[in-house]
């Protein structure tokens, strides 16, 4: 049936309430196209969303979905994927959701290498709560809660991911539609945890990290001498504070996803009626 699936099948009938021009539109479109392009359909896809403007994405898409509590989307996605290896799992949320309240889960989801895709819609600000500093805000970025800037270096999510043993690290820009879709697609197809940080500008509260800024400063790794299979190359890109990149930064081609390492491959929704046949063995162990 997948050949008949179009990306619009992943659209819900809810009209997004995002501000006109918000980067999240592009991020979502790319995700829907990538899902359709990789042969998925709404009934075999599960989207877990965080809290924030970004987290509303689950509402505007059509699939099995859960819109959770702030910062905990990754564990939910992990649970879905373990119970249902047959289901395509995609987790999406904001930079605050993922790198602030959910930072701990990020590190552990990366090292577990569960076969799912994590899309962070990075606008370098808290959108939904109306413009406070986020963990990726610049050190001197003035907001209502940081009148002189946060005066702390931003979190480097890619460095966190690489240090935690990531097997797929990428970055895209929501308004570069084709590249963005291509990169998400590659993350979906990756065997393991596919992490994509997406520059998804907030047109209402962030007048520094704008479309123009990203358009002018982005360097595409495709056009550079970059070998994504090399951790060394990845490290250089990730620690380069001078440039903004897009593309696949790192990809471990020998990645063994969690379910293969731990033998978690059964559809757990199927259980027998009554105790399993050999369950009396469980009692016998207590003799």
């Amino acid at each position: 049936m997948s050949s008949e699936i179009r990306f619009t099948d992943f659209k819900s009938d809810k009209q997004p309430t995002w501000c006109p021009g918000c980067g999240d539109f592009g991020t979502m479109n790319g995700m829907m196209k990538a899902l359709a392009e990789t042969g998925n359909d709404p009934d075999n896809t599960f989207v877990v969303a965080g809290i924030g403007c970004s987290g509303k994405i689950g509402t505007y898409m059509h699939s099995y979905a859960l819109h959770g509590v702030h910062g905990r989307a990754l564990p939910v996605g992990t649970g879905v994927k373990m119970a249902r290896p047959d289901i395509e799992v995609m987790v999406a949320g904001g930079d605050g959701d993922g790198y602030s309240i959910g930072a701990g889960h990020f590190v552990h989801a990366v090292r577990r290498n569960v076969d799912m895709t994590y899309v962070v819609m990075d606008n370098r600000i808290y959108g939904l709560t109306k413009g406070q500093a986020s963990p990726t805000s610049r050190e001197d970025f003035e907001t209502s809660t940081s009148p002189e800037g946060p005066k702390q270096p931003p979190v480097n999510p890619h460095a966190l991911a690489l240090a935690s043993g990531a097997t797929f690290i990428a970055q895209s820009f929501s308004s570069d539609a084709l590249r963005h879709q291509e990169i998400i697609q590659e993350a979906i197809e990756h065997d393991g945890f596919g992490f994509v940080n997406v520059y998804s500008p907030c047109v209402t509260f962030n007048d520094v990290d704008t479309y123009d800024y990203f358009r002018d400063s982005l360097v595409d790794l495709k056009e550079e001498e970059h070998d994504p299979t090399s951790r060394e190359d990845a490290k250089d890109v990730i620690l380069d504070n001078e440039k903004e990149h897009q593309g696949v930064i790192y990809k471990d081609e020998s990645s063994v996803p969690y379910h293969e390492q731990h033998g978690v491959d059964e559809d757990m929704s199927v259980i027998p009626d009554g105790a399993p046949e050999s369950a009396t063995d469980l009692v016998r162990e207590f003799y």
């Binding site: 859960l66 819109h67 939910v76 649970g79 249902r84 701990g104 552990h108 369950a279």
Partner: protein, 585 residues
């Protein structure tokens, strides 16, 4: 009841107290004797007093008593700590060669058996077996056939090779013959054996076993005393049935993973203790509003905060009943015995799925770490039933579509129960959220829909009250004027207390309540009683509060929960009309 025998081994944490006690308990159980164990432990790994106590009888035993007949004392403190329970003629086995035990004084009226545990163990193949030497000595004192110890040693060490098993058997015999040869006391213990086959397990293990039997396939947890044994039990076992255990990075993650698995259609569970429940509470509300079936096991310990992690308390009742912002229905089940831990776990999964809500399953530390013997039929797997509730498939899903063709996982129904579709079900794609939602799960702030959804969720509780049996267990004298009510692990002790009271001419009627919410209506029982006493391990009397609350006369109320605040004139009118109708008695 036939004479019971009380035995303990005590020393410092790290002295191998737990395994020594367990070996003895298993030997007794394999010899067809009933066993009830209890543990005294401190929250540290090395050092600190620890003891493992075993009470045994040919009749069922279900509580501890304050009497100790034989004590293996590895440290002087072991004797001090147990002085109250030691009596005239109690036997204390110790190693006078151990530096710390050289100056130990055995109280006059007791019998001290100085056995060179370490030296004898070394002769048998290694000092590490000194506790087994002591067990052999205890067998001699209690006239307990040492062959029964052999099978327990085999169970314990067979994976490490026959040589080790043989050495241990030899060590036990060295202890036995030392006592036989060196002391000519007549001990009047005679631990007879029977042909009964018993199994020996604790509450946490019974919960884990119940979970597997009920078809739980996914468990995520974060270690915490005294709930960790549930995870330990499931690890390595659940895989045999196609399941998986994840040690999450924290409780926030654990409950969210379990939530994810449940949304995927698995029977899922997490277990923790008080501090973990606090962390899970935000997600708890999401589980309830998204109507996700989930079993959350709270093995209570002493609070608040980190409190006393290794001590008993039943202090989290209010937390489970009321925890979380806003109002959401949840069930709270509280098994009152170890075997019930198994059956209530099975029931918890069925209730969670039938009513699509979170179920707290609560045990307490005493029940969780205590082992008791049961006949294997107590856990009859053929009796286990799995009811997955209202799950739709490709053929039945059409009955639950909105006019525009969307699946309605939060359909407003008379009994409050909506259809569930697992991912992969064609045309079932839908959204679940902690936001208030319409029948399709889409966010809404519509006042009517808000009220309809709140009512629908609450209606499930009324449906469950009607459809399920929430009765308490009754024992004692049914005609007694005085009523005792309890919940949690107190039942065993109370059962024995009733016998004692009976002998003293004091009749009581006992109700042991395994359901906290919904709970049985006890008002008629309380009203009929002259005096009612509620027994529980907490300071406030949290369950007593509930009983009082239930038995009080009804008051009328004015409520509003559609998301719009009261307006003065509207409120005045409501109050006026309610008063006019009169308070219902």
């Amino acid at each position: 009841m036939a004479a019971d025998f009380n035995w303990a081994v005590g020393g410092e944490a790290g002295d191998g107290i737990d395994s020594t006690g367990k070996i003895f308990a298993q030997a007794l159980s394999r010899a067809g004797r009933h066993v009830f164990t209890s543990k005294d432990f401190a929250s540290r790994i090395r050092g600190g007093y620890t003891a493992y106590k075993v009470r045994t009888s040919v009749d069922k035993v279900q509580s501890v008593v304050d009497r100790l007949d034989v004590l293996i004392a590895l440290t002087p403190r072991t004797i001090e700590e147990n002085l109250d329970e030691l009596h005239e003629g109690s036997v204390i086995i110790y190693d006078g060669e151990r530096t710390t035990m050289q100056d130990v004084e055995i109280p006059e009226e007791m019998i001290g058996l100085d056995v060179p545990l370490k030296s004898l163990a070394e002769e048998a193949g290694g000092a590490i077996m000194r506790n087994v030497v002591a067990l052999g000595a205890a067998c001699e004192v209690a006239e307990f056939p040492i062959e029964n110890l052999d099978s327990a040693l085999e169970k314990r060490f067979k994976d490490k090779g026959q040589k080790l098993v043989d050495n241990n058997k030899e060590a036990a015999r060295a202890g036995q013959s030392y006592v036989a040869d060196e002391y000519d006391h007549e001990f009047d213990y005679d631990l007879e054996t029977t042909d009964e086959d018993y199994v020996l397990l604790n509450g946490d293990e019974a919960i884990g076993m119940g979970a597997i039997a009920a078809g739980c396939r996914f468990y995520a947890g974060y270690p915490i005393t005294p709930a960790t044994d549930v995870m330990t039990y499931l690890t390595g076992r659940i895989e045999r049935y196609g399941g998986h255990v994840v040690q999450a990075e924290d409780e926030l993650s654990a409950i969210n993973m379990a939530l994810g698995a449940a949304r995927g259609g698995a029977r899922a569970m997490t277990a923790t203790s008080g501090p973990g429940i606090d962390l899970m509470t935000e997600t708890f509300g999401l589980i309830a509003t998204s109507e996700t079936p989930l079993v959350i096991c709270n093995v209570m310990r002493s609070g608040p905060s980190t409190g006393m992690p290794t001590k008993q308390e039943q202090g989290d009742l209010n937390q489970m009943l009321y925890g979380g912002h806003g109002e959401v229905p949840r069930f709270v089940l509280a098994p009152t015995t170890i075997d019930e831990c198994f059956w209530k776990t099975v029931e918890a999964f069925n209730l969670a799925e039938k009513y699509q809500l979170p179920v707290y399953l609560t045990a307490d530390l005493s029940m969780a770490v205590t082992e008791q013997t049961f006949s294997p039929e107590t856990f009859d797997m053929d009796e286990v039933e799995v009811d997955r509730g209202n799950v739709v498939d490709e053929t039945t899903i059409d009955d639950h579509m909105s006019e525009s063709g969307g699946f309605q996982p939060h359909e407003i129904t008379d009994d409050g129960i909506s259809p569930r579709a697992f991912p992969g079900t064609a045309d079932g794609a839908h959204m679940s959220t902690g936001l208030e939602h319409d029948e399709q799960g889409r966010r809404t702030e519509d006042t009517d829909m808000r009220v309809a959804q709140v009512d629908k969720r609450n209606r499930k509780v009324e449906t469950a009250r009607e459809r399920e049996d929430w009765s308490p267990r009754e024992f004692g004298d049914e005609d007694a004027d005085d009523l005792v009510i309890t919940w949690g692990s107190n039942e065993g002790a109370l059962a024995e207390a009733v016998e004692i009271l009976d002998e003293e001419g004091q009749d009581v009627r006992v109700l042991s309540v395994p359901y906290i919410f919904p709970r049985p209506d006890l008002s008629a029982d309380v009203e009929a009683a002259e005096t009612t006493v509620v027994v529980e391990c907490n300071e406030r009397g949290q369950f007593a509060d509930l009983v009082e609350h239930d038995v009080l006369e009804r008051v009328d109320r004015v409520n509003k929960y559609n998301g719009v605040r009261f307006k003065a004139d509207e409120l005045a009118a409501e109050i006026k009309s309610t008063l006019a109708e009169g308070v219902e008695a």
